[in-house]
């Protein structure tokens, strides 16, 4: 029988009361399961996905200014992740000399070259870091695919990002291009914690 992960919602949990206030409680299944669960849940509940703000949208002199290399610390039990890309652009109607651009992104575990690199075209205008209120400015937050789990893609299409699956936290190097911010959610956990 598989032991499925059950991450905990600490926002609705009572963190201060004791599991039991009996002096010498019997080793009941409920008590033991509760004691075990508090620790395992603390270990495998994914960490907060940090929202990083930055400008990798504005090219001043080199295309490398569109690049952003970063890393994510991933809690145990992760399998796949999704990125949220903050996009900022000037509409092509305002700046017709611009180009329709595409984001590229990868995680190290999924592969950093060829078809392993996710390519995410956008219908937005020319990428540029702008404050709200500028004429022709547009922006949004785009989440990458939540369904395509192809670990050996034949094309660099949008798909789930592979993460290291481990019983300890791991550091996952990542890359994204032409964005004004990025965060990564651990979207899929192992089906059976006993496999860790």
């Amino acid at each position: 029988m598989a032991r499925q992960p059950s991450p905990k919602n600490y926002a609705s949990a009572d963190l201060s009361s004791a599991i039991t206030d009996e002096a010498t409680p019997a080793a009941e299944a409920m008590l033991l399961a509760s004691a075990d669960a508090w620790v395992v849940q603390a270990a495998i509940t994914p960490y907060c996905g940090c929202a990083r703000m930055f400008d990798s949208t504005t090219k001043v002199s080199a295309n490398t200014e569109f690049d952003r290399y970063f890393a994510v610390v991933v809690a145990p039990g992760a399998v796949y992740g999704r990125m949220a890309l903050s996009r900022a652009a000037i509409e092509n109607s305002v700046w017709p000399g611009g180009w329709i651009f595409a984001h590229e992104a990868w995680t190290n575990d999924g592969g950093t070259t060829g078809n392993d690199v996710i390519n995410l075209p956008t219908p937005m205008g020319s990428t540029f870091y702008r404050d709200l209120g500028y004429f022709g400015e547009q922006r949004d937050i785009k989440e990458t695919s939540g369904t395509n789990d192809d670990n050996a893609p034949s094309d660099n299409v949008d798909r789930l990002f592979e993460l290291q699956t481990s019983g300890i936290p791991t550091v996952e190097p990542c890359y994204v291009s032409k964005v004004a911010g990025v965060s990564l959610a651990v979207s899929h956990l192992v089906a059976d914690l006993e496999t860790l």
């Binding site: 926002a11 002096a23 907060c48 959610a185």
Partner: protein
Amino acid sequence: MTVDTPIKVQISKASALKLPEMAQEPLKTALENLNYLIRYHRPPLVDDCPMRSFGLTRGSTYVLPITPSADGLRYTFETRWIVLSAATQSVTVSVDSSDAYAGGATVWSNIFSQATTSAGAGTLTTQTKADQIIPADAEVLRYQISAPASGARDDHHFLVYPTPAATAAGRMAGSGAIPFDDGGLAHADEWPIHTEFINRCKVTAVAVLIDRWQRALSMLDEELTAGYTGPASDGWNEMPPVRCYLPFQGPEVNLEVFAIAQVTGGTTAVLRVGQVGGDSIELAATGQITGDTLTVKTKGTGAMTHADLRVQRYRTTGQTTYVNAISAYYIPGA
């Protein structure tokens, strides 16, 4: 008495929890997992991409507010940069901390200083400096990154996460976490299942969770008047929103928000940090660390639960607003 720290989280079989035997297990496994958690719970303390840090032919300095563990833990620092135009250039990263940020008058204590030779022109360099202690009372870190001898440098990412030493037997830590030694459970007389053993699983798990704040929002630019001014017009300017994932949490979550910003003149009430379509807080640009609590209403479900965050900054006519750093932390249960 032995303190065993598992090298990975131990998972008791579901059947062992439903039909426990008259034995040490499965409680011993749960208690040993506390030692695991104390050592391996590693949410990032720092997770910052400098705002716009490309083509730098000079050194640069960043300061960022932090709230480290009350236990004075060791942390591992990973710093990522690229040297663009010349191969094998040495870059030195120095990191200091202070318990009282006072702008240019801050008294700093060095944590480490390490030079690393870049991997080659245009190739990402990742410097890892493991197991450096951040004092429990530190409220700010300073990164100083040297210029390469030749060519330019792009700063990409600063990551800091806890990597405590192996758990040792002893009294309760400042965080409230209590490690487990097997002296009781392994005793020849088989001590009775004790209330404290049961409750310690929750008390210590919660103590570790609450002690290691998790980075929820980051915005970082250089210090003092080298900070971010943006393509701002007078009045309020809103920067592109970002998504903070708060997996499985809600419906409301409190984020502890800190900022360092300054103005050349005019009002100092220049920073708003808030949720898109929700509440916001205002922080003053005094040149000091300012902070407040932001309550967000989470959206989405399960692992994809999130809050979209936005930052607005104000510029008084004829003046300049500099944003040096904004950081927000999530504390489980807050």
